[in-house]
């Protein structure tokens, strides 16, 4: 049989099988199990109605359990056993082995960097694009262009950006646009402004922002409000913020004192620390379109009168945007942010296709793939998978809760 025909037959059998299941099981419930006749008719109807949802949901729950639930349990089991020792239970040995690996901590650090930068940048750029394209004639064209990367696969986008970052030996024509731009800098005042002062200022302002956030997190502690858990979370959050501030400050200093190799083409993806950002750009490029579409719809949903009232109240365009528009679409921003966060935590393709985790760009998902399928270390690989799941779950739950709130 030709494959196409086989496919069609499969679809036909599958669909009619589903329909048959729903129809016949419903028939069985109503006619045989709890028929709405006889002395217990009313009770039977109620019972049938209680069973019916489970009847209809049953196949889906079963399939999801098989394909999602079981693998989680199995991965957990694998992470606690050792295949080379005949699947003996080894407790947390895999985890401690993993925690002792610098590559794992590198992946953790990079994942955290991705987690902070990509959702923030995508949401910010998306919001900016949504607001700026809102009222102009060619706004829809601009929006389509910004949205288009969404249609490109991560691997495809990686290939595109690999070309952007491409380096040819000095003296040759550079085909990578970044190097072509880089070679324009010759070490003069313009180079100082753009390559030293600007990044340093950006890093300093980032440090200032995270320090302020840390302060905001810590301030309520002085008034001793909230439970111990909340306090611990606040202290933890503030510590992370301060750590970021420290990193940013030290990097600002580094940026300022580093001698830059003007005139020499750079292999961008091999520059430690910064190559992470070159990879992030790919994902930001893709996710900005998503954020823009959702936020643009949300912005349009804001009642026009509240904006007119703000104009009459004397608010300037910035105040209208930040004090009237953004607070009104805050729930949507949170949903967009957390959705992108989930994508980021699972990021694999981009790193795999561009650097494969070399030059300190490892991330958790690629680390897991490395351990599972290249090193064939099922124990550590599964342990890292469990770590990723633990990181994703709270954000996922929060995302679902927020999205439901949004729907209400």
């Amino acid at each position: 049989m030709s494959p196409a025909l086989l496919g069609l037959v499969t679809i036909a059998i599958g669909v009619s099988g589903c329909l048959g299941y729903f129809y016949l099981s419903n028939l069985f419930l109503d006619k045989v199990l709890f028929p709405p006749v006889g002395p217990n008719a009313g009770r039977n109807i109620n019972r049938a109605n209680m069973i019916r949802p489970w009847l209809f949901l049953g196949p889906a729950i079963l399939a999801l359990g098989l394909y999602l639930g079981y693998p989680v349990i199995e991965t957990l089991r694998l992470s606690l056993t050792d295949r080379t020792q005949d699947e003996a239970f080894v407790g947390l040995a895999n985890y401690s082995q993993m925690f002792a690996e610098p590559k794992f901590w590198e992946a953790m650090r990079n994942n955290m960097l991705w987690l902070i930068v990509v959702p923030a940048a995508s949401t910010a750029f998306g919001l900016l694009a949504a607001q700026l394209t809102d009222r102009i004639k060619w706004g829809n064209i601009a929006k389509s262009l910004i949205f288009m990367p969404m249609a490109i696969s991560f691997v495809g986008a990686s290939v595109i950006f690999k070309l952007v970052y491409d380096a040819r030996p000095a003296g040759n024509e550079q085909i990578g646009i970044l190097n072509a731009v880089w070679l324009q800098f010759e070490g003069g005042i313009g180079s100082f402004l753009i390559l030293k002062l600007m990044p340093a200022v950006l890093l300093l302002s980032f440090a200032a922002i995270v320090t302020y956030v840390a302060y905001l997190l810590l301030r309520p502690l002085l008034e001793s409000a909230g439970t111990v858990l909340i306090k611990a979370l606040r202290v933890f959050g503030a510590a992370i913020g301060l750590w970021f501030a420290y990193t940013a400050l030290s990097n600002a200093v580094t940026v300022f004192v580093t001698e830059l190799e003007y005139g020499a083409p750079q292999t961008w993806l091999t520059l430690p620390f910064y190559n992470n950002f070159f990879l992030m750009v790919v994902l930001i490029w893709i996710q900005t379109g998503f954020a823009m579409v959702i936020l643009s719809a949300a912005l349009r949903g804001i009642p026009e009168e509240t904006i007119e009232a703000a104009i009459l109240d004397g608010a300037n365009p910035f105040q209208i945007f930040f004090k009237i528009k953004v607070p009104q679409i805050m729930p949507t921003i949170v949903v967009v942010w957390t959705t992108i966060t989930l994508v980021v935590l699972k990021v694999f393709d981009i790193v795999f296709a561009m650097t494969n985790g070399q030059w300190e760009t490892q991330v958790l998902a690629n680390y897991m793939y490395d351990k599972l399928f290249r090193a064939n270390d099922w124990g550590v690989g599964s342990a890292s998978a469990i770590i990723i799941m633990l990181l994703v779950s709270p954000i996922l739950i929060w995302n679902v809760v927020q999205a439901r709130k949004e729907l209400r």
Partner: protein, 373 residues
């Protein structure tokens, strides 16, 4: 002294003229109501005063200053929207203090103003609530409070009662009237399509029609001496009856022989050259009364509507014209299908030539009113 002066104000969107030749002077302390059918441009005019719409022709002065190109917030106006337009993410207190915070007023003064406005509007228990936790009437009060705290020269109301249910509408209307009384110096411009609101609240009414002003006057002026057929029919419910005829007697009083057969006498004066002129006489349903003598109108009652207090009689004239309506005091259940003769006091009979009342014959005829009608 005039607080708000509009001179030859016009609004057009490209080739489409929405408003033209708007000349209006609003005195300090007046409550002016813009009224008119939907699409007449009354809200557009209000939004032009507010600064939310660009003025494409003429000049607008507030308190003696030309404000055509002054941004809305510096015009000294405050506006109350039909949909309240409260900021949903801010509490009542924050909603009311938003403009003051933008203006960088001190916290103490903001609090003082908000408290004072809250007291006037009985909002002091609601200050920490979000708009979604308030009822429609409370939201409207907050919207008004948001205007009061700014202490503007001119208050603008854009159909503020339209989103309220009937009972609340009456209550809030009275509240607005009391508010106006407590602030005798503040000028208010109020847009509505509801003529009851217009008649009860206004010190003067501006009837807008077909992109221009049909008439400006006190509520009773518009009711008793309408300038044209449009105003005559727009003010009052049911609308004024118009009956075609020819002038047969001129002088201090005018006699009109109606095409349908009756004769009407009006205290509206006419000139000798008016003899034989084709006119419409206008009589309000409530001014018609049954008679045994000479009648303005005689016909068979088609439908009666007994409202208890009054009974409405509908006569279907020949040729599918608008029905003639009579409003009789009391209950008259037996009049349906009966032949009834109706007349009216000569002082209650209006005479319109070319849609313009003969009372205002020296004023130019307003094309717009006929067009809108």
């Amino acid at each position: 002294m005039a607080d708000l002066v509009l001179k030859d104000v016009a609004k057009s969107y490209g080739q489409v003229n929405v408003l033209s030749n708007i000349d209006l002077e609003i005195e300090k302390g007046e409550l002016i109501v813009f009224v008119g059918p939907s699409g007449c441009g009354k809200s557009t005019l209000l939004r032009m005063i507010a600064g939310l719409e660009h003025i494409t022709g003429g000049t607008l002065e507030i308190d003696g200053t030309l404000v055509n190109d002054v941004p809305p917030s510096q015009r000294g106006i405050a506006m109350v929207f039909q949909s309240y337009a409260l900021y949903p993410h801010l509490t009542v207190r924050e909603n009311m203090s938003f403009a003051l915070k933008i203006a960088k007023m001190s916290t103490a003064e903001i609090n003082e103003r908000v408290e004072k406005a809250a007291k006037t509007l009985q909002l002091h228990n609601l200050l920490d609530r979000l708009p979604k936790e308030l009822s429609g009437g409370q939201r409207q009060r907050v919207a008004i409070g948001r205007s009061i705290v700014r202490d503007p020269k001119v208050y603008l109301f854009d159909e503020p009662l339209s989103n309220l249910d009937a009972a609340l509408r009456v209550a809030t209307r009275i509240e607005i009237a009391q508010l106006k009384e407590s602030m005798p110096d503040s000028t208010m411009v109020y847009v509505t399509h509801d003529q009851v609101e217009a008649m009860t609240l206004a010190s003067r009414i501006v009837v807008l029609a077909g992109g221009g002003i049909a008439q400006v006057g006190t509520p009773l002026e518009l009711y008793e001496r309408p300038e044209n057929e449009f105003v005559a029919q727009f003010i009052g419910s049911p609308a004024m009856n118009l009956l075609p005829g020819k002038i047969t007697g001129t002088g201090e009083t005018t006699t009109v022989a109606l095409d349908a057969g009756g004769t009407a006498t009006s205290t509206v004066p006419s000139r000798a050259e008016d003899m034989g002129r084709a006119v419409n006489i206008g009589v309000r349903p409530e001014d018609l009364m049954t008679t045994d003598g000479p009648a303005i109108f005689t016909g068979t009652v088609n439908i009666t509507e007994a409202l208890g207090e009054v009974t409405l009689l509908y006569f279907q004239p020949q040729g599918g014209a608008d029905p003639i309506i009579g409003k009789l005091q009391g209950i008259h259940p037996d009049l349906k299908g009966q032949q009834v003769a109706l007349t009216a006091d000569p002082s209650k009979v209006h005479v319109f030539a070319d849609t313009q009342s003969l009372l205002y014959r020296d004023r130019p005829i307003k094309e717009i009113a006929t067009k809108a009608h």
